[in-house]
């Protein structure tokens, strides 16, 4: 593994008025790694990745992508570099059919550069490429599902659609904001191999999660946030064993259950 981290956050701070949502959080992610970020509600996880992806401006701090400073850049520039994200509240284009949803990322400058998807040629037009990506992510090609209007889809498919939107850009990093939340156990069970395959394809993942058991199965490292501050960072086993984490999650049954398994 290369020594230089692919993504490095230095002392990121974001305050909304008097409330400090993210307080001097630093992290680094290496190529091909899965980093989990956990923490109770309101601990600043989503704010942190909003800062990284440029959707909100940091009060202070720096984000380096492959050694280049990307803090303060607009979100479309950051996505153009290969840092894509899914949204916690799914944001598909509700009025378009699923596969047409993917035409939009495939139309972006990055997809044109990385995929050679200009339409036509042996790769087919954007519709075809879109359906291919959807199939890869778990939409059945010969069913109605990829052709349905996005507003009529269940949550599980919408979460996959979010991932597909990222994949269309051929990203280097995907930041998943609670990709497992709201899914049934079986849906999660089918999602986990997908995440593992993305990692095998060489994509670096940052996952924000509440479903600790599934996260601990896939993550290489886990970081715990509480009140906007980093509590601990380490391997899943280290984090599970840590007393401070138990304190943060005090009373949460799932953690207790996971801890007892450890």
């Amino acid at each position: 593994m290369n020594n230089q981290p692919i993504l490095e956050v230095q002392e990121a701070t974001k305050s909304f008025g008097g409330i400090v949502a993210v307080n001097r959080v630093s992290l680094d992610v290496h190529d091909g790694e899965i980093l989990g970020i956990i923490g109770p509600n309101g601990s600043g996880k989503t704010t942190l990745i909003n800062c990284v992806t440029g959707f909100i401006k940091m009060t202070s701090g720096k984000v380096l992508f492959r050694g280049r400073d990307i803090s303060g850049k607009p979100p479309h520039k950051i996505a153009d570099m290969g840092i894509t994200r899914t949204f916690q509240i799914m944001r598909p284009y509700y009025s378009l059919p699923c596969y047409k949803n993917l035409v939009i990322p495939l139309f972006s400058p990055r997809a044109k550069r990385t995929g050679g998807w200009r339409g036509g040629g042996k790769l087919g037009d954007r519709d075809t490429v879109g359906i291919d990506i959807l199939e890869e992510i778990g939409f059945e090609r010969d069913s109605f599902v990829p052709y349905k209007i996005a507003s009529s889809l269940p949550t599980g498919y919408l979460k996959r659609l979010e991932l597909a939107r990222c994949l269309a850009l051929k990203p280097e990093i995907i930041i998943c904001d609670e990709i497992f939340s709201g899914l049934s156990m079986s849906e999660i069970a089918s999602m986990v191999p997908l995440i593992e395959r993305l990692q095998m394809d060489g994509i670096t993942l940052i996952m924000i999660e509440h479903r600790l058991r599934e996260l601990f199965r896939v993550a290489n490292r886990v970081m715990v946030l509480n009140f906007g501050e980093k509590v601990i960072e380490g391997s899943p086993e280290e984090v599970m064993a840590d007393d401070k984490v138990k304190e943060v999650y005090f009373g949460s049954e799932e953690v207790e259950e996971v801890m007892s398994h450890a």
């Binding site: 959707f55 996505a79 939009i104 990322p105 954007r126 052709y147």
Partner: protein, 337 residues
């Protein structure tokens, strides 16, 4: 046996879904089903000037087409890009004054001034609206509403561009037939052009900006850029209308910035059917002649006009075209395949 049949059906279903957008032209009847509505519109518009009883009504047709440009632009921006534009008067004014200046000061004929005024006017309007494009919400609507008022007062106060008298002596079209067929052909061109545009890949991006601009940004695209393109298209349409109007009236004045040009296209869009592109044109062909017919009532004109509008909104709030399309597609069941 049963199992196999089920499997075959499943496969067929996939094929059916994938070919949903394709039309296999199998019989004259189906051919008619697809083309007749379009032909009725095209032929109807083309023979309209010939059947008009008087020159007065022929002139009304030209004015209807001017409003149709604005309504097309409004419908495109509001329902495919998600920008509510109240600036019809702004586009008309900019296009009109540009055409008038190009004609009177530089001596260009109408067929040169109109394309220049369209493109240059579109660029100027887009440039002036650029600052409010990154914002979401009502700001775009407010700014577009404000610009015509500002320009009108500037011209009035500084007494530039002819002041309150306006620019007189603008050349007219060679004759009234050229005038009418020029605007009618332009309406048809932009009508079918816009319909094509919104179904292209870039049109899908516009619709995505309307649906969910954050996701478009997360896909690595600059939404302000795409909004600017869309605003350019709509404002160029408006400027085209303005340029034509100036050459029809042979005069350009501050009444080009009148609020009518902003409001009537919106009413026409509501009545004709929002988001159908053809609906707004139809709306203009209903609303503008009605307002002319109602001149017989004198001052009560506006009252009747409002009553008709209210009736439309209460009884057919989805718009004529949306209703009509739905009913028309129900015919499909009668066609034997």
């Amino acid at each position: 046996m049963n199992n196999e049949q089920g499997r075959k059906e499943r496969l067929d279903r996939g094929i059916k879904v994938r070919t949903d957008g394709l039309y296999a032209i199998m019989s004259l009847r189906e051919l008619c089903y697809l083309t007749v509505p379009r032909l009725v519109l095209i032929v109807g518009l083309l023979i309209l000037p010939l059947v008009m009883p008087s020159m007065y009504w022929q002139r009304v047709i030209s004015i209807v087409c001017i409003y149709a440009f604005l309504a097309l632009g409004f419908d495109f921006l509001a329902h495919f890009v998600g920008l509510v534009c109240l600036g019809g008067a702004f586009f008309i004014g900019v296009g009109g004054y540009l055409a008038a200046i190009l004609n009177t000061s530089f001596g260009f004929p109408p067929l040169v001034t109109i394309p220049i005024a369209t493109l240059l006017g579109g660029a100027i309007c887009t440039l002036l609206l650029l600052p409010c494009l990154p914002l979401r919400g009502v700001y775009f609507a407010i700014v577009t509403l404000m610009y015509p008022l500002v320009l009108m007062r500037i011209i009035e106060a500084l007494n530039i561009l002819g002041g309150t008298d306006g620019i007189m002596g603008v050349a007219s079209f060679a004759n009234r037939w050229i005038e009418q067929y020029f605007v009618i052909l332009m309406v048809l061109l932009f009508l079918f052009g816009l319909r094509r545009l919104v179904n292209l890949d870039i049109g899908l991006v516009f619709r995505a900006v309307k649906d969910n601009d954050q996701a478009v940004r997360a896909s690595g695209m600059n939404i302000s850029f795409y909004k600017a393109i869309a605003v350019f298209v709509a404002s160029a349409l408006g400027c085209l209308g303005g340029a034509c109007l100036v050459h029809i009236y042979m005069w350009s004045g501050i009444s080009l910035f009148a609020l009518d040009f902003s409001i009537l296209p919106i009413a026409a869009t509501v009545i004709g059917g929002a988001g159908t592109v053809v609906g707004p044109v139809l709306g203009c062909f209903i609303l503008v002649p009605i307002s002319e017919l109602l001149r017989a009532f004198g001052t009560l004109r506006i009252v009747f006009y409002c009553l008709i509008l209210v009736a439309f909104i209460v009884f057919r709030s989805e718009g004529i075209m949306v209703y009509g399309q739905r009913k028309y597609h129900q015919f499909e069941r009668w066609v034997k395949i």
